[in-house]
């Protein structure tokens, strides 16, 4: 029994990481109708920048604070300079642009940081294992669970209780109407894009002590994030949350209970969900 509780905890830590990524991607799509395929690239950029910041300053927490705004600035630049002119165009053009940037980021990272696998140590204090339920569990993963939960709560409160949140939700529901109400929808777009990208950067730094830092992590992560977003529903934060929980736990228990099928479990879950609810668990827009 404790074995399953432990595995559920493992899955929870993984789900929180997925949530950080999926939330950004889902909001960007919900609001702007743009699939940002460079999202994985920003995640990777966050991880590598985190690595460098830790090397320069010796502190993990400094990296956690400084890296997300830096990555958000990158997202801002991408949106402002390159994506804006394409809003009138088809989805394909936007996808091509973001996908192209994904490759550019991938190569720039490789060029600047090299191809070897690197790792980031968990900060002192969190790098020990806590005896619980008869075995040892990493303190850092408990931290990730706590952080993810706190961010989820913060984002939900922000979206549902603040005026800015109301604007974003209105934009997701019907952007033309929101614009007609006098809101500068273009500024909201840029803001959400930058924020979502910043979240991806944060996820990169937080995940680095668990996942390692290496070329290829961008596309690996992008694929799982897309699955989460599709399962949860595009454009909804609640969808991202429950989607990441579902996929995170499915992946963990899939590995435990069906080791031969471990690679396909999350795809099977996605297929099953889409069969029953084609718009994802909480998807479905009002326009």
């Amino acid at each position: 029994m404790t074995f399953y509780v432990l595995q559920a905890l493992n899955g929870l830590a993984y789900s929180m990481l997925l949530f950080l990524l999926a939330a950004g991607l889902s909001l960007i799509f919900g609001l702007m109708d743009v699939v940002n395929l460079a999202h994985g690239g920003f995640y990777m950029l966050g991880a590598y920048l985190g690595l460098s910041f830790v090397r320069w300053t010796g502190s993990f927490w400094v990296a956690v604070v400084l890296v997300p705004p830096l990555v958000a600035a990158g997202g801002f630049l991408l949106e402002w300079e390159f994506l804006r002119p394409l809003y009138r165009r088809t989805h394909l053009d936007q996808i091509l642009l973001t996908f192209g940037f994904a490759f550019v980021i991938s190569d720039v990272v490789r060029w600047l940081w090299g191809a070897e696998v690197q790792s980031l140590a968990a900060p002192p204090g969190l790098d020990r294992s806590i005896p619980m339920l008869g075995t040892l569990f990493p303190a850092y993963r408990l931290f990730v669970i706590a952080l993810g939960g706190a961010l989820a709560l913060g984002l939900w409160l922000g979206l549902s209780r603040t005026r800015l949140g109301a604007i974003v939700r209105a934009g997701v529901a019907n952007k033309e109407m929101t614009q007609a109400m006098g809101i500068n929808i273009a500024a909201v777009f840029t803001g959400v894009f930058a924020f979502g990208t910043g979240l991806a950067g944060l996820a990169g730094v937080i995940a680095a002590p668990i996942q390692g830092v290496f070329p290829g992590v961008d596309f690996e992560t992008l694929i799982v994030t897309l699955i989460v977003v599709v399962v949860g529903g595009l454009g909804t934060l609640t969808g991202s949350f429950w989607g990441s929980l579902l996929i995170g736990e499915a992946e963990t228990f899939g590995k435990t209970l069906l080791p031969e099928a471990a690679l396909v479990v999350i795809y099977l879950v996605m297929a099953a969900v889409l069969l029953v609810r084609p718009r994802g668990l909480f998807g479905g827009r009002t326009r």
């Binding site: 668990i210 963990t252 590995k255």
Partner: protein, 419 residues
């Protein structure tokens, strides 16, 4: 007024070429072309009595390794090892200049096949070298064998290439998965523990290594308490580590390589696994390409491998020093394999006086190559064309300021059984 144009379109000054003149010129040109082709082909083989070395151009090597994705660093290491050796002989072998064309196998067998075909058929390389990933090696094996292209494998360790799918044209400078793990099973029983849990990335290299370990561990009396097989390229090892903890083994034997190894070691340390059981694994888990990233987490891991940075013999001391001076990083087993690949090629060329046209002759010459390598004595098994080498037992220890694999025991000369 513009001059009237003649029917036919040309201006008045050009002469008309008669059909006869045209045919004559074409015939002459065709004959010259054919003779030229014949001559260059013939001169290569020395058929006109001209020594191949004088007449032929440079030796073209096709180097196919991975420069991208998960095993990108291995490709860089192999290439740098080769550069180091070729530089030391001024890029000459058998009296000829050596050049190469490099391609990225990307860890995708389909890409590997395509690039190998390009190198063999379009670029017409004299020999092929490299191959990091076993699936790629298996995928190109038939193409290489049927086209009689000499392939020097610098890394891929799948057993089959030395057994059911061996070829006189394929030489392996690196190892077979069996070579590294088999001798360790018995040693593990006598020196570590009588029972073990096994874990490995679930692909050819991983499963072959565990099978080889069991081949000598179980007959010695060892008991396997459980096997856990995460997929290759797995990011989160938590569920698997929890399963190992549930088995509560005295010791474990693992196989992971590349980024999988870094992640596994980091996460196992986070779960306290390094303290609760004796952790051992095939040497790739803690080799130089990943050891710096693993750092103190890897301390204490006992591991078998056919080389170590700290191996004390004159060739290795010279090699590691030169590599460090030149490339500003420590050599890895992959760099050493690249170094030996280059040496094998040069020694083979020397033995045939630079003749690369007769593949059977070149194959025989390569099979007889023997020398002192940084790993110890190097020779090929004449039956399988796989390297015969010593496998060492190492442990990750703190050596001054650094963390390194220190050799403390020796498992003897190991020859792959070939079937």
């Amino acid at each position: 007024m513009a001059p009237a144009r003649k029917a036919g379109g040309w201006s008045g000054t050009a002469r008309r070429i008669t059909r006869r003149q045209f045919l004559g010129a074409a015939a002459l040109g065709g004959a010259a072309l054919a003779a030229g082709v014949r001559l260059s082909g013939g001169m290569r083989a020395g058929r006109f009595g001209v020594p191949a070395a004088l007449a032929a151009g440079p030796v073209k090597i096709g180097l196919l390794v991975s420069y991208s994705k998960v095993y990108g660093q291995l490709g860089e290491d192999i290439t740098d090892g080769m550069i180091l050796y070729f530089d030391s002989v001024k890029w000459r072998g058998g009296g000829r200049q050596i050049t190469w064309i490099r391609e990225d196998e990307e860890i995708d067998p389909q890409v590997g096949v395509r690039k190998a075909r390009k190198l063999i058929e379009a670029d017409r390389v004299d020999l092929l070298a490299g191959i990091v990933a076993t699936p790629t090696a298996y995928a190109i094996r038939d193409m290489v064998h049927n086209s009689k292209t000499i392939l020097i494998v610098s890394n891929a360790g799948g057993n089959l290439l030395t057994r059911a799918r061996k070829s006189p044209y394929i030489f392996r400078v690196s190892f077979t998965s069996w070579q590294v793990s088999y001798p360790f099973g018995k040693w593990f029983y006598s020196n570590i523990a009588r029972e073990a849990a096994l874990t490995a990335a679930n692909y050819g290299f991983g499963t072959e290594s565990l099978a080889a370990f069991k081949e000598s561990f179980i007959p010695a009396g060892g008991k396997v308490v459980g096997e856990v097989l995460p997929p290759l390229n797995n990011t989160d090892y938590a569920p698997y580590i929890t399963q190992v903890q549930k088995l509560n083994p005295e010791a474990i034997y693992n196989f992971y390589s590349g980024s999988d190894a870094v992640r596994f070691v980091a996460q196992a340390a986070q779960y306290g696994l390094m303290k609760s059981t004796r952790v051992t694994g095939a040497g790739f888990m803690v080799e130089q390409d990943v050891l710096p990233a693993e750092g103190a987490n890897a301390l204490g891991i006992t591991n078998p491998l056919h080389w170590a940075l700290t191996l004390q013999n004159p060739e290795n001391r010279a090699f590691t020093r030169a590599y460090r001076d030149r490339f500003k990083r420590d050599a890895s087993v992959f760099a050493m394999q690249g170094f030996d690949t280059a040496r094998v090629i040069v020694e083979g060329l020397n033995r045939t006086n630079g003749d690369t046209s007769d593949k059977d002759r070149l194959s025989e010459a390569l099979a007889g190559v023997k020398f002192a390598s940084p790993r110890g004595a190097f020779e090929f098994d004449p039956n399988t064309h796989n390297v015969i080498q010593t496998v060492y037992v190492r442990q990750v220890r703190q050596v001054g300021k650094d963390i390194a694999n220190v050799v403390f025991d020796n498992l003897g000369r190991i020859t792959d059984p070939g079937k």
